[in-house]
């Protein structure tokens, strides 16, 4: 029953109602003695504005019709939903399958989106984040990297000369050793100029204050700002923390402020840091470091100033620097990039690929559910035809089917959010270390909204095709058809959907195959060293106690000797920077007896200080001459071991041993050639590198490499190593201990992450496509049993029947494989950048994908086809 009666509404009824009233009133007035004309005038006067009344009535009636329609639809959908639940109860298998498919599809998409959103899409959590930029030194002109660091004076120039920047923050890494609170511990940290937090990032302190300019000058008071997390974790949330003192690298720092929770620097490590300190640089002392590489900078643009304008100024500054300091700045130029882009550039290509892949999975999911719905329609053809014959309109039927898909999708979406929340945790755990911002991925409002959108999209995708089909059906023909007869249009549609699924599965399988191959290539790369059985950790010698270089050399040698004496240790060495982990700066060099290179054409080599035993512990092969030995001590002739790349590039056809190389003002004698090592990244090309003796040039920081006997866990050396270090100096910590093997695996992290993700998507796609195919073939076979029976009765043998049915099943598979190959080819440019020594047309990956899919498809079609071919024709025909 509709509100206010059911009779249809016509505009003339409004007039009739008004007319009745006025005539009624006139009659009454005449009864009271009014004359005809006067009565009419009086009646109209009493009624008032007829036109206004009429339009108001019309408006109300229109509103009422809309209300009625809306309630009608709402009731109908409610009814459809109830019907749907009954329907699905009748076919729990299909329902469960569709639900699982949707939950996986939506869940995977939601989880991936959450991570991509956190890492890539969300703006930086600082005021006016689009005005934040990263400043880099571009060395591409001299064949160097696109993003190099600066010398301190270079960035002081940027801060003082570039008007586009409101504020420049100069920063560097600041890992510190904290002492005076139990055993020494390593704390993560940033060294940044005083305005970085307050004026560049515009963070407000949770407690206390941030740095003053006086706290950022050489000899100024030592102050430290700590993170909320560090305050809670390491200092127990001490309410009196402000004004207390922390001893960092031997120097007491006053705690002046606490950074609010969750605020990570949007640069460098991009994770929450324990401590922030100021550089307090002595400008005079670093005046000679122009053009060097040890500092980086971020900056905030003035409002309304474009990045391009800033870059023009930076370029002009770079040119001016070249002219003012000939030879210092050749081939390098400062350049600014948007900070968000800069932070996400490493993860962006992989993330985009994964997002694309998961989009394909979702599409496939929807195809699969659409396919299952079509199968249901086929089974329910009788019911639907009867309902159509009983007067249910086509739109009514279409709506019923859309509602079914909608109910299913909502259920699938809810289940998908559950799957997604698990998936997010899994992804965050699986993601390569150091992926910026990944820890912020969570099931928040944005992600839920996305999940809802995806659910809606899949409902439409899955429901619209079956709904259109059902609405086009002619009830007469459906009723007349026999129960088992093939619904030809439906079959064709389902075959098309299967072809689409196969295409997607082939694309994903080929992509996963390519990434897998690329990963395999990366893993089988000759690193140039042997990470197995090697334990590594870092020891830094801070403070005035180690200002004396000889004291450092003595200490480091003593430590190495004591480590060597520990049980299970077979060799000990140390290096200033481990392969694939940290890296030292490079230095330009000249070869004695050759003309000095033109400005901009200097050759640079990466430098490694080593203590004897390093090459042995890492199994780094010395190809010619000798390695660094204990005799290469202070006072002896400075010596170098050069790598193979340098030897081949600079000494082709000559023996480099005995020749001399100048690094800065020091002349070194080449005593040996070492095999090339993947020092910087597994993907990197070889670069010139030189090793020299830490005994001759002792640094403050060394990575110790302890080779253990094969039966020993590398980490088992740690307790002994800690004891040994404490014996020598109780204020020092064993920093960042890690087996070398793990460090190598860590360097492979991003590639493994991508390969694993794409591999899982491809597997899911394969399973879904095969399930869809199996459904279609089974359905087709069941529907064609009568035809099979007739053919067999007419003399066709089982082989012919099998062939017929297999061909039917395989046609969409073949079409899908072709389609998938076209898509794979089209997606080449997205995958290319991610591959390592693997062609985008790699026959093993692509052939493998096709073979895997074809094999699975064969299995899916074979079973029903064999069943049909084995059937007894007489029985089939009798059953008809």
């Amino acid at each position: 029953m509709l509100p206010g009666g059911t009779e249809p509404e016509r505009p003339e009824e409004i007039d009739a109602e008004i007319r009745f009233h006025i005539e009624q009133r006139i009659e009454r007035l005449i009864e009271e003695g009014w004359s005809g004309d006067a009565a009419r005038a009086e009646a109209l006067r009493r009624f008032g504005d007829v036109e206004r009344a009429r339009s108001a009535m019309k408006r109300e009636d229109r509103l009422r019709r809309w209300t009625m329609r809306w309630r009608d639809l709402r009731d109908a959908v409610r009814l459809d939903a109830r019907n749907t639940i009954t329907q699905w109860r009748r076919a729990p298998g299909i329902f469960a399958m569709a639900l699982l498919t949707l939950a996986l599809g939506i869940g995977a998409t939601t989880a991936i989106f959450s991570v991509v959103d956190a890492v890539l899409l969300r703006p930086l959590p600082f005021p006016a984040p689009d005005r934040l930029v990263a400043v880099w030194s571009d060395w591409t002109e001299r064949g160097g990297p696109e993003r190099e660091w600066f010398g301190w004076p270079d960035l002081v120039d940027v801060r003082e000369e570039v008007g586009a920047f409101e504020e420049v923050g100069i920063w560097g890494g600041g890992t510190r050793t904290l002492t005076g609170r139990g055993s020494p511990v390593q704390v993560s940290g940033i060294v940044a100029t005083e305005g970085t937090l307050s004026r560049v990032l515009r963070v407000r302190p949770e407690l206390g204050r941030f740095f003053t300019p006086e706290e950022d000058v050489a000899g100024g008071p030592a102050a430290v700002v700590i993170s909320h997390e560090f305050w809670q974790r390491a200092l127990g949330g001490d309410a009196e923390v402000i004004g207390s003192s922390l001893v960092l690298d031997g120097e007491p720092h006053e705690v002046i402020g606490v950074i609010p929770p969750g605020v990570a620097p949007p640069f460098g490590p991009a994770t929450v840091q324990d401590v922030w300190v100021t550089p307090r640089v002595d400008h005079a002392a670093v005046a000679n470091t122009r053009g060097n590489a040890s500092w980086r900078a971020i900056a905030r643009l003035h409002p309304g100033v474009s990045l391009a304008a800033a870059n023009e100024e930076l370029h002009a500054l770079g040119i001016a620097q070249r002219e003012a300091w000939p030879g210092r700045y050749e081939g390098q130029i400062p350049v600014a990039h948007g900070l968000h882009d800069d932070l996400t550039r490493a993860s962006a290509p992989g993330m985009r690929l994964v997002l694309g892949a998961v989009g394909l999975v979702l599409l496939l999911t929807s195809f699969n559910v659409g396919n299952l719905l079509l199968a249901r329609i086929s089974m329910r053809r009788g019911e639907l035809a009867i309902r159509a014959a009983l007067g249910a309109g086509r739109r009514r039927l279409a709506r019923q089917l859309l509602t079914e898909a909608g109910v299913l999708s909502v259920a699938g979406g809810l289940a998908g959010i559950l799957v997604g929340s698990v998936g997010i945790r899994l992804l965050v755990a699986l993601a390569p270390q150091g992926t910026p911002r990944i820890e912020t991925a969570s099931l928040d409002g944005r992600v839920l909204a996305f999940a809802a959108l995806v659910t809606l999209a899949s409902a439409v995708l899955a429901g619209v095709v079956p709904a259109l089909r059902a609405s086009r059906r002619d009830p007469k023909s459906a009723l007349a058809g026999r129960g088992g007869e093939l619904d030809r249009g439906g079959f064709r549609l389902r075959s098309t959907l299967v072809a689409g699924q196969v295409a997607i599965a082939v694309t994903l399988l080929a992509g996963a195959g390519l990434l897998g191959r690329s990963f395999q290539q990366l893993r089988s790369v000759d690193l140039g060293f042997e990470p197995t059985d090697v334990m590594t950790f870092r020891v830094s010698l801070p403070g005035v106690a180690y200002d004396d270089a000889d004291a450092r050399a003595v200490f480091q040698n003593e430590l190495a000797d004591r480590l060597r004496a520990l049980p299970g240790v077979t060799e000990v060495g140390a290096v200033s920077a481990l392969p694939l982990v940290g890296f030292d700066s490079d230095v330009t060099y000249t070869i004695e007896g050759r003309p000095p290179p033109e400005p901009g054409e200097e050759t640079a080599a990466w430098i490694r200080r080593v203590i004897p035993g390093y090459m042995e512990a890492m199994d780094l092969e010395v190809i010619a001459g000798r390695g660094i030995t204990p005799s290469d001590a202070r006072g002896a002739q400075p010596v170098l071991v050069i790598n193979e790349t340098l030897a081949e590039a600079r000494f082709p056809g000559e023996d480099p041993i005995g020749q001399r190389i100048h690094l800065g003002s020091t002349a070194f004698e080449i005593v040996g050639i070492a095999a090339d090592v993947r020092n910087f990244a597994i993907r990197d090309d070889w670069r010139d590198a030189v090793y020299f003796s830490n005994l001759q040039f002792p640094g403050r920081t060394l990575f110790f490499t302890v080779e253990m006997a094969p039966e020993q866990e590398p980490a088992s050396v740690l307790p002994g190593a800690r004891n040994v270090l404490a014996e020598l100096d109780a204020s020092l910590a064993v920093i960042a201990p890690a087996p070398m093997r793990d460090l190598v695996e860590g360097a492979l992290g991003p590639d493994r992450f991508l390969a694993v993700l794409l591999g899982s998507f491809a597997t899911l796609a394969l399973v879904l496509a095969v399930v869809g195919l199996y459904g279609v073939v089974s359905h087709a076979v069941a529907a064609r049993m009568r035809e099979v029976g007739v053919r067999m009765a007419l003399g066709a043998d089982a082989t012919q029947i099998r062939r017929l049915l297999l061909m039917r099943g395989f046609a969409p598979v073949a079409a899908g494989i072709l389609g998938g190959l076209v898509v794979t080819w089209g997606a080449t440019r997205f995958t290319q950048a991610l591959l390592f020594e693997t062609s985008t047309a790699d026959p093993v990956s692509i052939g493998g994908a096709v073979a895997l899919l074809a094999g699975a498809a064969l299995l899916a079609t074979l079973a029903p086809a064999l069943r049909a071919a084995r059937a007894d024709p007489a029985r089939i025909l009798r059953e008809e």
Binding site: G4, A16, E17, F20, F47, D49, E60, R64
Partner: protein
């Protein structure tokens, strides 16, 4: 047939319609107008044309139902009756109005 200048407060028309239909239904619009005139002794200035938009709105809101029928003098007319919801609204509206009127009267009395 006297007319005072008592203009109707907003919402009062609805209340009067509900009261009319509560007293006697079904009624057509003219009947409602007559009932109001009779029961108030013509004290209210009712522009009769405003009854109809109100009736159509109340029909949309599900307070009244309408049906075409034949009037006392054998003419086609649209008759209104209260729905269940309309009946409930009438009771609530009357109580509310009484509270309102009492309160206003008390205030005016106190201001004396």
């Amino acid at each position: 047939m006297t007319e005072t200048n008592l203009a109707l407060f907003k919402g009062t028309v609805d209340l009067l319609i509900l009261a009319a239909l509560g007293a006697r239904e079904p009624l057509h619009g003219y009947g409602i107008a007559e009932w109001i005139e009779r029961t108030t002794g013509g004290a209210l200035l009712l522009e009769e044309g405003t009854l109809y938009p109100a009736l159509h709105r109340m029909r949309r809101q599900g307070l009244v139902a309408a049906e075409w029928g034949t009037s006392e003098n054998n003419r086609r007319a649209r008759f209104y009756r209260l729905t269940k919801k309309g009946r409930a609204r009438r009771a609530a509206g009357a109580a509310e109005w009484n509270r309102y009127a009492t309160a206003v009267a008390a205030a005016l009395g106190a201001g004396g």
